[in-house]
């Protein structure tokens, strides 16, 4: 037995050797990033339910040789090109005006291997990838990622969110919807900024939706418009959602006067059970008729809410809120993290996305606050403008921030329930914004 040869083979096949391969240092940086994200998730408790999963996905996908996720396979799927599973290569190349499919004969001619090996490669090349091929040739994270690619996980999460959300404050005070609309300002400003920075229309739409402060919406929109940017967009969206108190509080203090922050709002009217049952049916019908591309998000959100409110589907509501939500969150986090392959993630594009993300969050907050101030003036000082910042989705974190800043000025001021109206309106608003972007660029 060739002991030295065996040992040498073991060393060369190990992941450690991969760090010394071409571009292997990038994997080391990504692994360090995974550790940082794990630290934020576990120690700082920043959106831990998703960030821990995403961080672990980042770690797994960047360990050389793991083979859990194959980026070229998904590139081939997205670009409808042939795929060589032996060498893990998508048969296309980027050219000035888009992409060029590489004919199989040309690809085989480029390979530097024996005729026997070429014949084996030719035999295994898949001309049109399907999900079945991905299950057959892919790794564990490829298989889990099918749920993202098919748009399944974000929609299932929306069922859970709907089942957990009480739309009562919004029904009692429908004007909250204006704040939910105003707080989408960052979405469109960031989209415009992204185009200025050289991104394409669909990429800009996917980046802009970070300003909606809604993780599943951001993931679904990115997956439909710019799947190659899904990793950085998801990480930016969830990181900023976790940092909402740090981003919003200074803006809220800067844009409102002490007098405005002290406003105590009148208790909203009680909402009957019948209204709560009719609400999801009405919203789903009306919004989907208005913008059909919102159907997956609004449909699932309102279906989940109907399960909660009917009173006859408690078991289903409980499953949507707990078991289903937990399972999907688990799969979603790790499979989204898996898309952060070093060779693609470590780029100027990612840095631009991170900057545009924070711009989007800031302007969404500003948009909500400004319309909040307008409503304060128009209502004769009855509406506290602090609830405007809750118009960014991020339920219920943004509403809690409104409550906290209100209580800093007057410890007896309770804004939480008033802020929940704009907060849940923001979920509907960001879904409509996403629907518009998908319709425009999809």
């Amino acid at each position: 037995m060739d002991i030295l040869g065996t040992l040498s083979g073991l060393v060369m096949d190990s992941g450690f050797a991969g760090f010394f391969a071409d571009g292997g240092w990038k994997n080391l940086i990504m692994i360090a990033l995974a550790f940082v994200l794990l630290y934020f998730g576990i120690v700082k408790k920043f959106e831990p339910l998703l960030l821990v999963g995403i961080a672990f996905g980042v770690l797994l996908t960047n360990i050389p040789g793991g083979g859990l996720y194959h980026m070229p396979m998904w590139d081939a799927y997205v670009n409808e090109s042939a795929y060589d599973p032996v060498n893990d290569v998508a048969l296309y190349e980027t050219v000035d005006d888009g992409i060029r499919q590489i004919p199989i004969e040309e690809y085989l001619a480029r390979l530097t291997c024996t005729a026997e090996e070429k014949a084996e490669v030719e035999e295994k090349i898949i001309e049109h990838l399907s999900f079945t091929d991905i299950i057959h040739h892919g790794g564990l994270l490829d298989i889990l990622y099918i749920g993202v690619k098919a748009g399944l996980y974000p929609c299932l999460i929306f069922i859970g969110i709907g089942a957990m959300t009480d739309f009562g404050p919004l029904i009692a005070s429908p004007s909250s919807l204006l704040l939910g609309a105003a707080a989408q300002l960052g979405v469109f400003l960031a989209m415009f900024g992204a185009i200025l920075l050289g991104f394409t229309g669909p990429e800009s739409g996917a980046i802009g939706i970070i300003g909606g402060a809604d993780g599943p919406t951001a993931i679904l929109t990115a997956m439909m418009l710019a799947p190659h940017l899904l990793g950085p967009i998801a990480i930016a969206a969830y990181s900023y959602m976790a940092l909402i108190p740090m981003i919003q509080k200074p803006l809220m203090r800067a844009l409102t006067s002490e007098e405005e922050r002290k406003v105590k709002m009148k208790q909203a009217r009680p909402v009957s059970k019948a209204e709560k049952i009719i609400f999801p049916i009405l919203v789903a019908t009306f919004v989907i008729l208005l913008i059909p591309s919102t159907a997956p998000l609004i449909g699932c959100l309102m279906f989940g809410n109907l399960l909660r409110e009917t009173g006859v589907t408690d078991r289903l509501s409980d499953t949507a809120q707990n078991a289903l939500m937990n399972i999907v969150t688990l799969f979603l986090g790790i499979s989204v993290g898996a898309t952060t392959v070093a060779s693609r993630f470590l780029s100027w594009e990612t840095i631009k996305i991170v900057i545009l993300g924070v711009v989007a969050f800031c302007f969404s907050t500003i948009g909500g606050l400004l319309v909040g101030k307008l409503m304060y003036k128009l209502s004769g000082g009855k509406i506290n403008p602090l609830i405007g910042s809750a118009g960014v989705s991020a339920v219920p974190m943004a509403a809690r921030v409104s409550q906290d800043v209100g209580r800093e000025t007057d410890p007896n001021n309770f804004l939480l329930m008033h802020a929940m109206g704009p907060n849940v309106a923001g979920v509907i608003g960001s879904a409509i914004a996403a629907g518009f972007l998908i319709q425009l660029f999809g």
């Binding site: 888009g98 919004l170 029904i171 009692a172 429908p174 004007s175 919807l177 204006l178 939910g180 609309a181 105003a182 989408q184 300002l185 979405v187 469109f188 400003l189 989209m191 415009f192 185009i195 200025l196 050289g198 394409t200 229309g201 800009s204 009680p270 009957s272 019948a274 209204e275 009719i278 609400f279 009405l282 919203v283 009306f286 919004v287 208005l290 913008i291 309106a425 509907i428 608003g429 409509i432 914004a433 518009f436 972007l437 425009l440």
Partner: protein, 107 residues
Amino acid sequence: MKMPISDAAIAALLGYGVVFVGLVLLMAVITLMGKVMTAKKGETAPAPAAPAVPAPAKEGPAAPGSAGDIKLYDVGDREAAMLMAIVADKLGKPLNELRFKSIKEVK
């Protein structure tokens, strides 16, 4: 494909406008629903007004483990249970030694 800046500006303005128009229309629909429901409630108000005066509660000791009969007005079972538990805790008495006649939300 890159998008001209003028087109991008129009798309951004249009998008923001669509969100606003969509939610303003939704606001109108929800307001209308609220008005219809409130009007319906008003029509049927005389009927439920009768029990506003609590019916004479059955006197006599409550059965062990029972809080007796209770009438709830605009209060859910969960809230009522929570309120009764708080009162019992504050009084330092077991729940089955107390008698609650009615719980009504003060508006």
